[in-house]
């Protein structure tokens, strides 16, 4: 069964990168441009992994993660956070919300694929 990855980022180019790399590797992708959009799109769908940016309009990444963790069907879905922030405090704040990994932008396509495959195989 194909595994589904939800990519949440307001940057079109980053979503494009994720789509090119992950679809080629055999994952199914759902794209969302902010937390609200993501919650709407994942409603009722099985998602195996969530990759979310931190800084986004309407609903930022950490609020989105908190909302996801409050949903029973997505409580244990692994989440990778993407950010330009390498500051320890932000990183720890994300850890507390239940995020599995913190990845600082920019990153290469290989790094992204490596990171995703650590949590879910296509």
């Amino acid at each position: 069964m194909t595994k589904t990855v939800l990519i949440v980022d307001d940057s079109d180019s980053l979503r494009q990168l994720a789509c090119i790399v992950l679809k080629r590797a055999g994952y199914e992708l759902i794209e969302a441009c902010n937390g609200v959009d993501a919650l709407n799109k994942m409603n009722g769908r099985k998602v195996h992994l969530i990759i979310s940016d931190v800084n986004m309009p309407l609903m930022d990444g950490l609020t989105f993660v908190k909302q996801v963790k409050s949903l029973p069907e997505h409580k244990f879905t692994p989440i990778i956070m993407l950010s330009v922030d390498s500051f320890e405090v932000s990183c720890q704040e994300a850890r507390v919300t239940g995020v599995k990994a913190w990845m600082v932008k920019p990153f290469s396509a290989e790094k992204l694929l490596d990171m995703v495959s650590r949590f879910v195989q296509p």
């Binding site: 180019s13 494009q16 090119i20 950010s83 390498s86 850890r95 990845m103 932008k105 920019p106 396509a109």
Partner: protein
């Protein structure tokens, strides 16, 4: 600001004028000496008035200088107050930081755009190679694959027609051979007839011999037998002629068959050779096309991989905009904050009270909003580094 001394200075022309008038009044009741005294007093009053006017000009100049000094002192005090308010300090310290932040954003943008442009150049080059490659495959060998296929089809149709003609010729030969078989049956029948005639002739000859030996002078019976033998002999002769004719026909037919067979054999050999050559040519064409297609497919696959990789790299380089956007957002927010402080400062100064801002705490607050490592480096005056650091990944 008028002092008592200043009041005296202003009053001095009046005093000297008053002295002159008093002298004039006193003089009216006096004689010649009084008149001389009056003139002297008037001259003194004029001198006094002139001296007074001169002193007034100097005083005004001094007053202007004092006012200017005062304004300068006020301005200096205001500046000192401003400095005490922290705004100047903030501007002094924050501006270089903002300059660095903006420079970081600018250099990251420039670097990102340069990389993206280079990648796009790569993509364009690879696309050109792919297009050229596909054009070579489509356009090579007298009009490409379609022409090769069309030529091959007509060649193979010619081979097929040639083979069909050969088959028709073979069928005709089989029919001829069948006719020969029917002739052979007829010859057998004729041979049987000839054998029967020969047998009867032999019997009659025997009877004639017996009758001739017995009769002697009674030769009439012999004459009858002799006549019968003659008739049989004639019949045998006709049959012999027919047989000769038939044999001739058969001979010529066989010769024709042999000749035809030889010709067909040559035709067949030539047809087979031609067919082989045609098939070889068609196969060679196909092989060449297949080879070209295979090479082209491999090239296209490689180029397509390259293009995919270039696009993927381009998208990686485009991530700089996220960092730049956040850096510029913070600078914008900081400027907004400073603007708000300035407005409050101006309003409260108008109201008569003084607002003081702690520059260091303001700068620290500014630093709290930073998200990127380069913003923190810029803030703390570390060496500027345009490129973002190696990807950091933290697993929890």
């Amino acid at each position: 600001m008028h002092t008592e001394k200043d009041a005296w200075i202003w009053m001095s022309p009046l005093v000297s004028g008053g002295a002159g008038v008093a002298a004039l009044l006193g003089a009216t009741g006096l004689s010649g000496l009084g008149a001389i005294l009056t003139i002297v007093l008037v001259m003194l009053a004029v001198a006094c008035a002139w001296g007074s006017a001169h002193r007034n000009h100097a005083t005004l100049t001094r007053l202007a200088r004092q006012t200017q000094d005062m304004i300068e002192q006020e301005l200096s005090a205001a500046r000192q107050k401003g400095s005490g308010n922290g705004l100047e300090e903030i501007c002094d310290k924050a501006a270089p930081i903002w300059v660095k932040q903006i420079e970081t954003a600018r250099s990251q943008t420039e670097q990102g755009i340069t990389e993206v442009a280079a990648r796009f150049a790569g993509i364009v080059e690879r696309l050109q190679i792919s297009v050229t490659s596909s054009q070579q495959v489509a356009g090579g060998r007298d009009g490409g694959e379609a022409a090769v296929l069309s030529q091959s089809e007509s060649d193979l149709v010619a081979v097929s027609q040639s083979m069909g003609a050969a088959l028709q010729k073979r069928a005709a030969m089989v029919r001829d051979v069948h006719e020969l078989i029917s002739y052979t049956a007829e010859l057998k029948h004729m041979a049987t007839e000839v054998a029967e005639i020969a047998s009867q002739t032999n019997l009659l000859a025997l009877n004639a011999a017996i009758e001739a030996a017995r009769a002697g002078e009674a030769g009439r019976g012999f004459a009858v037998v002799a006549d019968e033998v003659r008739k049989l002999s004639s019949l045998s002769s006709d049959t012999g002629k027919k047989m000769t004719e038939k044999v001739n026909v058969i001979n010529s037919a066989i010769a024709a068959v042999i000749g035809a067979a030889e010709k067909f054999s040559e035709d067949d050999t030539r047809s087979v050779t031609e067919a082989e050559q045609t098939i070889r040519r068609v196969l060679a064409n196909f092989e060449s096309v297949t080879k070209n297609l295979s090479a082209s497919t491999e090239l296209l696959r490689r180029e397509s991989d390259g293009i995919r990789s270039e696009i993927s790299d381009t998208l990686v380089y485009l991530q700089f905009q996220d960092r730049v956007s956040q850096i510029l957002s913070h600078v914008r927010d900081n400027l907004d904050g400073l603007h708000a402080h300035l407005k409050r400062y101006v309003n409260e100064r108008h109201g008569g009270s003084m607002v003081t801002i702690d520059a260091n705490s303001w700068l620290n607050e500014m630093a709290l909003g930073y998200t990127t490592a380069e913003q923190r480096r810029n803030h703390h005056g570390e060496i500027h580094k345009a490129a973002a650091e190696e990807t950091e990944i933290t697993f929890f």
